[in-house]
């Protein structure tokens, strides 16, 4: 080391000036729940179970999505459609319960690919929000199904395709 370097002080002041410049820089933080990063169109986020044009559930509880799922995150119980429920379910068999565990799910989108009825989709504008309890990450039909009065909210739900 030269004498000047041994004095430490010049280097110290250089370092201080660098950190001071960062002090006034624009901050990189994104205040998550209020602010969100822009998400790409291909983003695979929270699932939604779609209804058809007549507001009937599309899912027929075939279980292909559960089989395709590498994380084994999907479980369902199938049931038979009764008379008079034709306006609720499109097919003769429907999912009585349909649950996705968002802690297991890796958001690969394979369920979406597997579904023959175009029922399950991943939204590209929503994520599973943080929760305090593990149970709250098991999303049942109440939270997965498209709302019935999807008339105006339909535009709000963005699918990947």
């Amino acid at each position: 080391m030269t004498m000047a370097e041994k004095m430490y002080l010049p280097a110290v002041f250089q370092g201080l000036s660098i950190t001071m410049r960062h002090f006034f820089k624009k901050k990189a933080t994104i205040q998550y729940p209020e602010q969100q990063r822009p998400i790409g169109k291909e983003f695979r986020g929270l699932h939604v179970l779609r209804r058809d044009e007549q507001n009937r559930e599309r899912c027929t509880a075939c279980g292909l999505c559960a089989v395709a799922c590498p994380a084994e995150a999907i479980t369902m119980v199938a049931g038979e459609r009764k008379k008079g429920e034709e306006n609720l379910y499109r097919e003769e068999k429907y999912a009585v319960t349909y649950e996705i565990n968002m802690l297991r799910c890796i958001f690969c989108g394979l369920c979406e690919e597997a579904c023959p009825k175009e029922a399950v989709f991943l939204q590209n504008n929503k994520m599973a929000p943080p929760r305090y309890e593990r149970d709250e990450f098991i999303y049942g039909k109440d939270r997965l199904l498209e709302p019935l009065d999807a008339g105006n909210s339909k535009e709000n739900i963005k699918y990947r395709y």
């Binding site: 002080l9 110290v12 370092g15 201080l16 660098i18 950190t19 001071m20 960062h22 002090f23 820089k25 624009k26 901050k27 990189a28 933080t29 205040q31």
Partner: protein, 352 residues
């Protein structure tokens, strides 16, 4: 009697201000760290995160109070208490302002106690502070804690030498140990920093070492010693150690401002006192209060500087620390004394 009551009030106020500043130093530390790293820092508790220290304290109190089985229980508790006690004691002799004058009352000094050996008092109390660290580290019955404590002790002793020597130059110039006297002699813009730049740098470096701040925070060097002397501490006992560090920073900043940066003096104070009001008592009081504000401005700058340095410089290696202390700072301090002595003699010869 009223003078006693006023004095008690001043003591309580200074104590409260010390604690308040230390509390908000923890917040400031996190904010400064965040800003220097392009982040925002705590901003969820209250507006701008201002309630963060409160939240931290509550968290500290609710944590598990852990005392290691084979530790020396009493000393284990005495460690942080001593660290806190000595930290709080040292702000007593710092003159936070000139005097307030009221009709029919003796002059009120904005200072807890005025002793004519103020500087010695601070040195004594600060070197007692290392006992808090040592006792805590030893009582933990943990090798890492002990190593941290030993490091703290040897570091403080080494740097206290250089610090004392750098002060001697000031004492030669001012001829007094009283911090109030030293402040008063720097009237206006006649600050000691113009005469003692080298001494100031030595003092600054030593102050960093004395308060165990980065780049000299080897006693708690987490890469080598887990947490150093406070490895075994949890809950509010850990909180007291950390808190004592911030109080020490505050006191070190106050001492630096007083010794080298004019304390409560600011340029133009005479002019202001003569022109601000026709009532001489009122004018004097206004200038005194302004001076106190100015002093706190200087103190806040130094507290900020402590943090700024902490988030800029990496830690020294232990041998580098010792080399710097013994082979560089002490000879420099002695050189400074010689130069100052020569300067004073020359000044006398030339009749300044």
């Amino acid at each position: 009697m009223p003078i006693l009551a006023i004095q008690a009030l001043i003591i309580v106020t200074i104590f409260g201000i010390t604690l308040l500043i230390a509390t908000y130093s923890t917040y400031a530390e996190r904010k400064v760290a965040a800003f220097l790293q392009d982040r925002i820092g705590p901003n969820r508790a209250g507006p701008f995160g201002l309630a963060q220290p409160l939240a931290d304290a509550v968290k500290m109190f609710f944590k598990e109070e852990f005392i290691p089985a084979k530790s020396n229980k009493w000393l284990f508790i005495a460690g942080p208490s001593l660290a806190m006690l000595t930290a709080c004691m040292s702000s007593a002799v710092i003159p936070f302002g000139n005097t307030l004058r009221f009709d029919g009352l003796p002059e009120i000094r904005l200072q807890a106690i005025e002793v004519n050996i103020g500087m010695l008092y601070i040195f004594g109390v600060v070197s007692l502070g290392v006992y808090g660290v040592m006792i805590g580290g030893w009582a933990s019955n943990n090798k890492f804690s002990l190593l941290g404590a030993v490091r703290a002790a040897s570091q403080n002793i080494s740097y206290e030498l250089a610090m004392g020597l750098s002060i001697i130059a000031i004492l030669m110039m001012t001829g007094t140990l009283s911090l109030r006297e030293i402040s008063l002699q720097q009237h206006g813009f006649n600050w000691n920093i113009w005469y003692q730049p080298l001494g100031f740098i030595i003092f600054l470096v030593c102050a960093f070492a004395e308060t165990n701040r980065t780049p000299f925070d080897l006693p708690e060097c987490e890469t080598e010693l887990i947490g150093g002397y406070h490895t075994e501490y949890s809950s509010m006992k850990l909180g007291l150690y950390l808190f004592a560090e911030y109080i020490n920073i505050f006191v070190a900043s106050a001492v630096m401002s007083t010794l080298y940066f004019g304390g409560f003096n600011f340029p133009g104070m005479d002019w202001l006192e003569a022109h601000i009001s026709s009532d001489p008592l009122l004018a004097h009081n206004i200038v005194t209060i302004l001076g106190t504000v100015v002093l706190f401005g200087k103190i806040f700058f130094f507290i900020f500087f402590f943090m700024w340095v902490r988030w800029t410089l990496p830690r020294f290696r232990y041998d580098q620390l010792m080399n710097l202390g013994w082979k560089i700072l002490i000879p420099l301090a002695i050189l400074n004394i010689v130069l100052t002595g020569g300067g004073i003699l020359l000044g006398e010869k030339l009749g300044w």
